[in-house]
Amino acid sequence: MTVEVRLFAVLTDHTGWSRQSMDAPAGRTVEQLWQQLVQAHPGLGSLGYRPMVACDCRYSDWDSVLDDVQEVAFLPPVSGG
């Protein structure tokens, strides 16, 4: 199974990409996926905060399981307006 991972704003400065498909074996949680990202891009681990999480365009929790999720997004504190 794969899940589409979306990153935004300052997070993309740490990875160089904003969208990527990643493997998500059954039972994989948002938290575990994030840890995988932090390992590959250590800058994400030193943000000083945890981003918000959205699954399929809805705010979601870190312990959400990705089995039925098409797209998971990590959102730094929003600053529209």
Binding site: F8, R58, P77, V78, G80
Partner: protein, 138 residues
């Protein structure tokens, strides 16, 4: 009505669409791009969004404001892309029979938009470029 757009915001047309003959009040808020942030001179801004979710969040926001306040209609518009100093970046327009719920709803809608709608501001200063940290209360 919620809109994400790169084109300039047409306030007059929003007023027309929101106001009905039963409305005695139309209250609006418009946010503009200013030329300074924390003592630094800003040249221009870029707004980046998670478009699909931003639109969904704006719709959820409009629905909840309509449910919670005695208003008639609400329009929320946010611009994306490059904006120059003095450009309108966001507008909330609310109509109601009487003024008080429209004022209250307008303030609440803007406060929630700034907390929940996934849009980010990138500031281009005369001396650098930075993403605005949404945790700053400004």
């Amino acid at each position: 009505m919620v809109i994400l757009q790169t084109e300039p915001i047409d306030l007059a047309s929003l007023f027309e669409q929101v106001r009905g003959d039963g409305d005695g009040a139309v209250v609006h808020f418009v946010g503009y791009v200013r030329n300074h942030h924390k003592g630094r001179e800003v040249r221009y801004l870029e707004y980046h969004g998670y478009d699909e979710m931003a639109e969904a969040e704006m719709r959820r926001l409009a629905d909840s404001i309509r449910t919670e306040f005695e208003i008639d209609a609400i329009a929320i518009v946010h611009r994306l892309g490059r904006l120059e100093i003095g450009d309108a970046s966001v507008a909330v327009v609310i109509s109601s029979a009487h003024r008080r719920p429209a004022f209250d709803a307008c303030r609440e809608a803007m406060d929630r938009l700034k907390r929940t709608v996934p849009i980010w501001k990138k500031e281009f200063f005369v001396d650098g470029v930075e993403w605005v940290d949404g945790r700053d209360p400004c």
